[in-house]
Symmetry: C2
Subunit: 425 residues, 2 copies
């Protein structure tokens, strides 16, 4: 043993942690790769079938009893001309002695709808008038006009700014940033375009590494050559393009620590994949990037999140959107994400020791129970079963809990075995 101990990279079988559970069940990599190839093929076949027989299902195809509102990606020049037409209409209205009012879509909870056929939240069609000549709405109407003017400037200059920049251009009028942010969402809805089409972006947070090549603002990026740090996901998706990949799947990781482990071990070379994380709560840039990868590369998406209600919540935001931005759910959501792990049933299955599990707080349990009532959970019986188990056992665990069996248990045992057993829901 002594000479083996001196080796810098001991082979896994001589590992200190040879007591790692399930290690002996892992089949040779080619077997697992074959399984993954089948998964990818089936996702591709399904995508192609739906796109050849009929286009992908959209809100318009459904003929719902009530009409809904959706936005689309518009070019800068369309945004510009839409604003200009709106302004002309307003000028006419003023000149004809009628004053003016904006017709603003309502974004309240009562105006939201979960559509099971699409598996995402959408916005109903209710709008409300925002007249300038009314004490209760004059302020908001003024802010709306100012935001429209600022967006028009961005179109002329073809630059991107953050919400914070937007706020600071007229602090006197906006008073605080929640007001300009909220009207910005109103303006998106009114113009019928995505917030990214307005060239207003959020701070970047996510990183990507693995078998992906894409262009960012004209530069070609090879994500297998990004070392351990990975490539920061660009804040403006409209300058991302030319995606190419030989990956078999996308691995969506909730947290940084697990991402670092997989990046250092170059997991994507053993099992060809693209690894992406938003480091916690999904931000808009990462959601747009994930969707774009899924759509262009037609790859299955497997999610690795903590075994707690927030892990599932995060999965649901990627999968079917947040209520706050339901008007843009078509662009922000990635359909058909599989829950790979850590799942509540894994805690016993993988013999996670008691001391690595954490008791759920009252708030955790409430969040878990609320999730059980959500449509997007209900439609997946496997998820309901897992979440019911979590709420029953009142135990949660982080991805990092797997380190109890050795630092590389995640990349060398847990994930290979999950993939081999096709153990996703």
């Amino acid at each position: 043993m002594a000479d083996k101990k001196k080796r810098r990279r001991p082979d896994p079988s001589s590992d200190d942690e040879s007591h790692q559970p399930f290690k002996n069940q892992i089949k040779p990599d080619p077997v697992i790769l074959q399984i993954l190839q089948k998964l990818t093929d089936s996702v591709r076949a399904a995508t192609e079938a739906s796109s050849s027989s009929s286009k992908a299902l959209t809100l318009a195809d459904l003929a719902l009893s009530e009409s809904c509102r959706e936005v689309a990606d518009l070019s800068l020049s369309s945004v510009q001309s839409t604003i200009e037409s709106l302004t002309l209409k307003i000028a006419h209205s003023i000149l004809s002695g009628n004053g003016f009012a904006f017709d603003v879509p309502s974004r309240s909870a009562a105006n939201q709808l979960y559509v099971p056929e699409l598996d995402r939240i959408v916005l109903r069609d209710k709008t409300s008038l925002r007249p300038y000549a009314s004490i209760s709405t004059v302020r908001k109407a003024t802010i709306t006009a100012r935001i429209l003017q600022l967006i028009h400037q961005l179109c002329l200059k073809s630059i991107h700014v953050t919400k914070r920049d937007l706020f600071y251009t007229d602090v006197k009028l906006f008073t605080d940033q929640t007001q300009s942010d909220s009207v910005l969402d109103d303006v998106s809805c009114m113009l019928g375009c995505t917030r990214s089409s307005l060239n207003v972006i959020a701070a970047e947070k996510g990183v990507v590494v693995g078998r992906l090549i894409f262009s960012d603002n004209g530069d070609m990026i090879d994500c297998t050559k990004m070392g351990m740090g990975g490539k920061a996901i660009p804040p403006n998706i409209d300058r991302v393009g030319d995606m190419q990949s030989d990956a078999l799947f996308i691995l969506l990781v909730e947290k940084d620590a697990a991402y670092i482990r997989l990046a250092e071990d170059r997991f994507y070379n053993r099992f060809p994949c693209i690894i992406v994380t938003a480091k916690g709560q999904p931000d808009v840039a990462t959601r747009l990037f994930l969707r774009k990868m899924k759509m262009e590369l037609k790859l299955p998406v497997l999610a690795l999140v903590d075994s707690d209600p927030y892990g599932l919540k995060i999965l649901s935001v990627y999968g079917c959107g947040s209520k706050n931005m339901s008007y843009d759910s078509a662009n922000l959501t990635t359909p058909d994400i599989k829950w790979l792990g850590i799942r509540p049933s894994d805690l016993d299955k993988y013999k996670i020791p008691e001391q690595c599990r954490l008791p759920m707080t009252e708030q955790d349990i409430k969040t878990g129970k609320d999730l059980l009532e959500e449509d997007f959970v209900k439609k997946n019986p496997g998820w309901v079963e897992e979440l019911t188990l979590m709420v029953k056992t009142k135990q949660k665990a982080e991805i990092q809990a797997l380190s109890t069996f050795g630092f590389q248990y995640l990349s060398e045992v847990y994930l290979p075995l999950k993939l081999q057993q096709q153990d996703w829901l």
Copy 2:
């Protein structure tokens, strides 16, 4: 005007914001570039003079009345053999019937010292015994032994893990992460090596873009070809190398929004520079990366932070370290960072409107006054003057406040003029 309005990229002189203050004072770029070249030359000359006449000043050169403790970057094999010698010493002590105790450096505030000659905080030499055969220290001694064993494993495997991973390998013993984290710092001090030498890394947060080429884990990265997203700063500095650059300076930016503006405008192409941000509080990885750039490329570092006490605090952490990690200040700090902006005197000078300034809270004012007592502020009369002005006017402002003069005022007017006027402290 109408035809100009239609142009996608209007030239700056036909800008909507032609009322931008100071715009007419900006000289042609070659003039500003010449000024920057002089700055860079002087920094290089100073670095070379100090390294040829004598080596850079270290703690050892100072012959302080009291001895201080510093750590160094050690190779994995040295860390491994240091742990092995320590273990042998302990075994001898046990076998000779004396039991064992760790001799642990104290990291308390009373054991810290600011050294003006070095311009950073260092750790004094006081240590305390941590015997196993004592009820009050048996637990901590056990944790210390366990952490040493885990680090030894990391050496054998040559992998990196996060603090969170380390905690989860023995939750039963550590109980909560603050305990394993704190002993990890003890172990760094005891072994006399940096925390990165132990292969325990923090989550990554920073990004870099601009005129820099470097290798990350063997991959060559060209930061002019990273689009707008930039390159995520690697969490493990020991795998970063081969830095090359034709930049004239490093621009250290506090926040994401300003970073995005400069990256989209490719500011680094107009004024050759490297732009780096930790997106708020500086993390260890970004601090190590900044120091490495400064040392290898011998470039001046100019900082762009908010005009509030926290902006200056952040500057000070980059510049002379945090108290918590003073034992490693030699490796974590970047000497001679210049405060470019936003400085309290800029608020009037650049006519930032009243409504874009924010009143300081009681806590802000207290933090500002506390900073005035700190040695690293006192030694720079310009900083004292600025901070005194801030506390007196009770006003603060974010970098984003400049957007009030147009979204690109930062990159097109404020920064060029600052550079032209050599307006840094």
